[in-house]
């Protein structure tokens, strides 16, 4: 079976979702073990894929065996970037799943099987988007990701989460249809949906590559994915959707959905249109970097004004998306900006996962949803507070953590290409992160423990046995944030070795 690993990564959660839906309604205790088994299988398979990519090279898989001619069937492709992202998705999803284990006593326990079904289907969408090599298949999986996200946001019992979900639904649908229009235009011009095939067609036919159809296709695909990832002027839905949804859903969606959209943008750029788009149109790519700078500034400023922990973290996501989009469009000759963006996708997935898990633990165990509530937290819960500290330091970019290395490569790329404004924004936002997180550290470490700390449970007295289920994934996430930073070398080598160098060869041949 080992030759089918790329497809099993996607299929395991799909079967898991269907089996949970079939048996979970009868016996709710089956849901969690089934979901855990499915995601563990995906995790093992994605390790296998990463191993194969690292030792042998890129891995193509043709669904249905329709290998030739190219583009008749659907191709899956695992290489240096997306195999690592597959692994990151599996890890973050497993952590979020362990965190979200449901108890019988909770008030909407009857619906918990459907929470697990939606959770697993969201994983299917994320895995599928990441591994596919077909432009239309991406759209189908974006649909799955989007529909499950709307459901997971709205499943929260509060009215606010329904409103946020509706906003998210309207904007997300516009984004997805923009992507679809873009793919339609692309198909009209080249007659193929296979990414690698489109790439060769565009490289061989410059008159098609420079036509207005292709330009429009690129614009609409980009607008679509930017809407999906919440880049600056299109970010309005993001903070509400991710902060008002139940923390079980937020732990999965906040770290992954935006990052996978960033990955789609990178894949479309170098896998379909070619990086020439960036280097040959310096005016346009400078404009995109400027938008990214706007995103960084807007995210940081919004984060400064927030007093709610989760909302503050959501605003930081907008800034982080700016890092990655800007890094991708730097267009420096060494492709260090692109490398930094790709590495930052992984780093940010881990950091955001760590911080959101921590915010979830604080909210569930201490009822602490606002900064003031965190007073004296370190003495009450040293492990959770320590893990949050690690995540915060990574977000600021303190050396041994992964956040430092992605900023290092991004700034290196920006210096090479002379985008000084981007560097200023990057450093400025690191400074803002430092202010934000040290403010929290001060409150949490040196603040007074409130008198009524034992009774201020926020109506959720689920300590003891279940607290361990919530804290364990948080600690793992914090450890991974640290490890990804310390062992950044092999990750960077894999990213550069398999993709960035290939791009340079391709663009030199042209």
């Amino acid at each position: 079976m080992s030759e089918h690993l790329p497809v099993i990564v996607v299929l395991a959660p799909l079967f898991g979702a269907v089996i949970v839906g079939f048996f979970g309604t009868r016996d709710r205790h089956l849901c969690f073990p089934i979901a855990l088994t499915a995601l563990a299988l995906s995790f093992v398979c994605s390790i296998g894929v990463v191993h194969h990519v690292a030792t042998v090279g890129a891995w193509d898989y043709f669904v249905g065996g329709w290998e030739s001619p190219h583009g008749v069937g659907i191709q899956l492709r695992a290489d240096g970037v997306n195999s690592l992202l597959l692994l990151a998705i599996a890890v973050v999803a497993l952590l979020a799943l362990v965190y979200s284990i449901r108890q019988d006593g909770e008030k909407d326990a009857e619906k918990s099987p459907f929470f697990y079904v939606l959770f697993l289907l969201l994983c299917v969408g994320l895995f599928g988007i990441t591994i596919t090599g077909d432009a239309f298949n991406v759209y189908v999986l974006i649909e799955i990701t989007a529909l499950t996200s709307y459901g997971l946001v709205a499943i929260g019992s509060s009215r606010r989460s329904r409103v946020a979900a509706f906003q998210y639904l309207v904007i997300g649908t516009v984004g997805a249809s923009f992507y679809l229009i873009g793919v339609g235009y692309l198909y009209l011009a080249v007659g193929s949906l296979n990414m690698a095939d489109i790439r060769t067609i565009l490289a061989a036919n410059p008159e098609i590559a420079n036509s207005r159809i292709i330009g429009t296709a690129l614009v609409f695909i980009l607008l679509g994915v930017w809407t999906k990832m919440g880049l600056f002027p299109l970010h309005g839905w993001l903070p509400n959707a991710y902060s008002y949804c139940p923390s079980g859903s937020a732990n999965l969606m906040a770290p992954l959905v935006t990052k996978v959209s960033v990955y789609v943008m990178i894949r479309i750029l170098f896998g379909v249109f070619g990086l020439g788009v960036i280097t040959e149109n310096p005016g346009w790519s400078d404009l995109v970097v400027l938008i990214a700078v706007g995103s960084i500034v807007a995210g940081s400023v919004m984060a400064l004004t927030q007093r709610e922990i989760k909302k503050m973290l959501c605003c930081l996501i907008v800034a982080e998306v700016g890092y990655m989009v800007g890094g991708t469009w730097l267009g420096d000759a060494g492709r260090w900006g692109l490398t930094g963006s790709m590495y930052h996708i992984l780093a940010d997935a881990m950091m955001t996962s760590c911080l959101f898990l921590a915010a979830g633990v604080f909210a569930k165990q201490f009822g602490a949803t606002r900064l003031e509530h965190l007073s004296g937290l370190f003495r009450r819960s040293p492990w959770a507070a320590g893990a949050f500290t690690l995540g915060g330091l990574a977000m600021i970019g303190v050396p041994p953590m992964c956040g430092f290395f992605s900023k290092f490569y991004l700034i290196r790329g920006a210096i090479d290409s002379g985008h000084w404004l981007y560097i200023v924004a990057l450093l400025g936002s690191s400074l803002v992160n430092a202010i934000l997180f040290f403010r929290i550290f001060e409150i949490a470490y040196f603040g007074e423990v409130p008198e009524s700390s034992e009774s201020s449970e926020g109506g959720c007295p689920t300590r003891g046995r279940h607290a361990a289920w919530r804290t364990a994934p948080l600690l793992v996430a914090a450890a991974l944030t640290l490890l990804l930073g310390i062992f950044n070398r092999p990750v960077i080598d894999l990213i550069r070795g398999t993709v960035v160098e290939n791009i340079d060869i391709v663009s030199m041949q042209e």
């Binding site: 079967f15 839906g21 799955i144 489109i198």
Partner: protein, 272 residues
């Protein structure tokens, strides 16, 4: 002010879209890129489909073969999208009342308990002679037609999605004519939820079978030994029919689930 911004955004979007129209291939042009491919790329998939579909799959309807075999991986996820829609609407809208709460409210109707069972109290008992009789004639015909569309996807337009919609409509018709209770009596809530999951399971399961014959996922040709067909082509044809059945199950039950939950705001009783 907001309307002004929206109008400007729409006009700009439209202008960008129309800007490229000049470069479009002529409508119905047989030599346009989607129809005949582009030099430098591989052979156009459209040409390949038209020339080889019958040889590969013994399915005269090219659309069905492309949908369920060549690009069956997409269709599997389209089916999963439909399942997602059904589950999401259920998870958001469905009002779940526990038995204890129900007793305290003193509702005279034996409504939904914690286990999602629903009452059958309204509907059959009422005197709706004309509608009821018409329904008794139309519903079996509609269902028969639905099965016909599913089964006839191979030689003519049709297949699981269309047939599933017709089948789902027949249950909605029952609900419209005799009350939701009578329709739920025939297709219970726990049944349609399971049926929706089973549909996707059948689709993905048929695809998974080929892995055991050391072939790629969704390669129905691998099933020729299992199905005792002469060649791989007939096995593909049967495989397509199998997945169409799975699609039809999911579509039927999600159609009905959406109607039942949306029309009664998740209460699954009375309504309309």
């Amino acid at each position: 002010m907001q309307k002004l911004f929206a109008t400007i955004a729409v006009i700009i979007t439209g202008a960008i879209l129309l800007n490229a129209v000049e470069d479009f291939p002529r409508f119905g042009d047989p030599h346009s890129p989607p129809n005949s491919g582009v030099s430098g790329g591989s052979v156009s998939s459209s040409v390949h489909y038209l020339q080889n579909t019958y040889l590969d799959t013994r399915v005269p309807n090219v659309v069905t073969a492309v949908l369920a075999d060549y690009r069956g991986y997409d269709t599997l996820f389209e089916t999963a999208v439909i399942l997602t829609a059904g589950i999401a609407v259920f998870a958001i809208l469905r009002v779940v009342r526990r038995k204890d709460e129900e007793e305290s409210t003193g509702s005279e109707e034996k409504a939904c308990s914690g286990e999602f069972s629903t009452s059958d109290s309204d509907g059959e008992g009422r005197h709706r002679v004309v509608v009821g009789t018409a329904c008794r004639v139309v519903v079996p015909l509609a269902q028969l037609f639905g099965f016909y569309i599913i089964a006839h996807g191979h030689p003519s337009p049709g297949g699981g999605f269309q047939g599933g919609v017709v089948l789902g409509t027949s249950f909605i018709l029952l609900a419209l004519a005799g009350g939701l209770g009578s329709a739920l009596g025939r297709l219970r809530e726990d049944m349609y939820l399971r049926l929706a999951c089973l549909g996707v399971f059948i689709y993905a399961g048929i695809g998974l079978l080929s892995l055991f014959f050391r072939r790629n996922f969704l390669d129905y040709g691998a099933l020729s030994g299992l199905l005792q067909t002469g060649g791989e082509e007939m096995a593909r044809s049967h495989g397509i029919f199998g997945v169409e059945l799975g699609v039809a199950m999911t579509v039927t039950s999600v159609m009905f689930a959406l109607f039942a939950n949306l029309s009664t705001r998740g209460e699954l009783k009375g309504g309309l």
